[in-house]
């Protein structure tokens, strides 16, 4: 590793990455720069090229063009070195169905060069950490989706890799399990790992990621910090329904003063204002009460992924069932 690479501070860097399956350009010139120590979200609909990108970065697939580097190591030429730096949690649970959770972790530990006792110890640690002790001896056939994902994530952490790929970590999980998974991912970053995660949910990227790349049809259509991106795609809209339409002008003034933007007046007692910072809603409600303005209803409309894509690409997301190229 040269000094320049060490100092670049990038865990992942791709330039003009290309992967073609037949006549489908699954990845079509993707540029990514993932800073060390961040959670980086790759957001896009099904078939956008997210999984293919992860597969190239985790050395499962070779690129047809462009370069991809992990901590300065080329994923094609220095695949073995890259594999020592990454942990992969794929979309399909990459664990052995016929073995137990404990056996899975033990075998991965042995493969990673741990001694018998070290592998056993690491297995115990991870089972505890991921709340799998009670089910450690059960075959995975009886595992719930959430348990399987947790085990999968645990398996990626055996070697304490500095970079972790999470390919749609919560797709198909119920809301409660999804929240648990989010907590786990947040803790991961505190431990010093860089996380590159893909998701179809704007909400998830928003919750977890420091920076987001929006990807569609194999291309990055927008990139930035969560707030930059939100600012560019139009943020949530606050809608106030007033108890009395007479107070509309007064309420407008209060909103302009607190939020800094002029509200629109789509209906008689309705006021709508873009809201960049949800924290300000308490200030606003407080100010409205002080001004003796009564509300009938308050609602916040978040932009959906479809709206985001519409804004960014001018086209709705592709409604297609075709999956990304499988391995």
């Amino acid at each position: 590793m040269t000094d320049a690479q060490k100092n670049s501070g990038l865990a992942v860097e791709t330039k003009d990455l290309i992967k073609v399956f037949g006549d489908n350009r699954a990845v079509d010139g993707v540029d990514l720069r993932v800073p060390v120590g961040s959670i980086y979200g790759v957001l896009g609909p099904n078939g956008a090229g997210k999984t293919t990108t992860i597969n190239i970065l985790s050395t499962l697939m070779s690129a047809d063009g462009g370069t991809a580097k992990v901590f300065g190591h080329d994923v094609g030429r220095e695949a073995h070195a890259v594999r020592q730096l990454i942990g992969l949690t794929g979309q399909n649970a990459s664990v052995d169905e016929t073995l137990t959770a404990g056996e899975n972790l033990f075998i991965f530990g042995r493969l990673l060069g741990l001694s018998r006792s070290a592998a056993r110890q690491r297995t115990t640690e991870l089972l505890e950490e991921f709340n799998l002790v009670d089910v450690a001896k059960r075959p995975l056939g009886k595992f719930s989706g959430g348990m399987r994902r947790r085990l999968d994530l645990a398996a990626s952490l055996i070697a304490q890799p500095p970079l972790i790929f999470l390919d749609e970590p919560t797709t198909g999980l119920d809301p409660r399990t999804r929240n648990q998974m989010w907590d786990t991912i947040r803790r991961l970053v505190k431990s010093g790992s860089t996380v590159l995660l893909t998701t179809q949910y704007l909400d998830e990227a928003d919750q977890l990621a420091d920076r987001i790349a929006v990807i569609d049809r194999g291309k990055v259509v927008a990139e930035g910090t969560t707030s930059e991106l939100k600012a560019s795609i139009g943020t949530a809209t606050l809608q106030l329904s007033l108890a009395d339409k007479v107070s509309v002008p007064a309420a407008s003034q209060v909103i302009e003063r607190v939020l800094g933007t002029k509200p629109t007046n789509p209906e008689q007692h309705m006021l709508a204002a873009p809201m960049a910072d949800p924290e300000k809603i308490t200030d606003l409600l407080d100010a409205l009460r002080k001004a003796d303005i009564h509300l009938q209803e308050v609602s916040v409309q978040k932009p959906t992924l479809d709206e985001v894509f519409l804004t960014l690409t001018g086209k709705p997301t592709r409604k297609e069932t075709k999956q990304e190229g499988s391995v």
Binding site: M1, K6, L60, F71, R83, S94, E125, P161, G192
Partner: protein, 272 residues
């Protein structure tokens, strides 16, 4: 997160350029251990090396014994080494079907993303499968013993015949491993394997004396490698002698490995 889970930074790691030979051996043994664990978890997979070597010798002995050898007892020294070759060669296709199944599963992606020797999953499967062959040979001889077979060359001959059969089956499993790597699904591996193994086992000297066959078939039976294995196993188990069939078998096994091991490894590495 616990202190133990603190990630080790990229710069503080000493990265290896490639897996060493020692690591490759180590990884392969771990993969073999995994395959054995899986076998224990799914005992139904063992039916081809446990139930089949009981069922087939019993069936064939009592059905054909009288007709072919005059009586059941006289047929035993003939049929049991034949069944041995057939059972073990049949089971060698499992290497291919299992490999295909494994490669289609999510866990294989994890193996491919780990810094392990690429060859380990293939090598592990080939190592673990020798245990299957050992079980199949043991079960066949045990069944034979129970129904009255007393090998003329005693335990030593039986062990020698078993070892020879295991070596040959291991060599053949490289062919099925290649099919496994190239095929689309494990059921297509099974279909191809059946098409190869079924005619080869029956168009051999395993069940009936060759001279009872029509001339054109004799020509095939005489060159059929299974016939050589059966003859070599008979000589070892019944007379304790090493004939030219024994050397044909070893030579054939070596040739198969020399041809198919590089082909399989190359095809496998391209996909792994």
């Amino acid at each position: 997160m616990d202190a133990e889970n603190v990630a080790i930074s990229a710069n503080s790691r000493k990265l290896k350029k490639r897996a060493s030979v020692v690591q490759a051996v180590h990884n392969s043994l771990t993969m073999a251990y995994r395959d054995l664990l899986k076998m224990r978890r799914t005992p139904e997979q063992f039916s081809d090396v446990t139930i089949q070597p009981i069922l087939f010798p019993v069936m064939f002995t009592y059905i054909f014994g009288g007709a072919i050898a005059g009586n059941v007892h006289a047929y035993l020294p003939y049929i049991i080494p034949g069944m041995l070759a057939m059972s073990v060669v049949t089971t060698s296709q499992v290497t291919g079907t299992q490999l295909r199944e494994d490669m289609d599963k999510g866990v294989f992606n994890r193996f491919r993303s780990l810094p392990i020797a690429r060859i380990a999953p293939l090598a592990g499967a080939l190592i673990a499968d020798t245990l299957r062959y050992a079980i199949a040979t043991f079960m066949t001889f045990l069944t034979g013993y129970v129904i009255g077979y007393r090998p003329g060359a005693g335990l030593g001959g039986v062990v020698a015949a078993s070892l020879l059969t295991i070596v040959v089956a291991w060599a053949i499993s490289w062919i099925f491993a290649l099919i496994g790597v190239m095929a689309r699904s494990s059921s297509s591996v099974q279909a191809i394997a059946f098409l190869v193994i079924f005619p080869l086992s029956f168009l051999s000297n395993a069940f009936v004396p060759v001279k009872t066959l029509p001339g054109w078939m004799q020509a095939f039976v005489k060159v059929n490698p299974i016939s050589h294995l059966v003859s070599a196993a008979r000589q070892l188990a019944n007379y304790g002698t090493i004939g030219h069939d024994f050397w044909y078998c070893l030579l054939g096994a070596a040739v198969v490995v020399l041809i198919f091991a590089p082909l399989t490894v190359r095809a496998y590495m391209r996909r792994a």
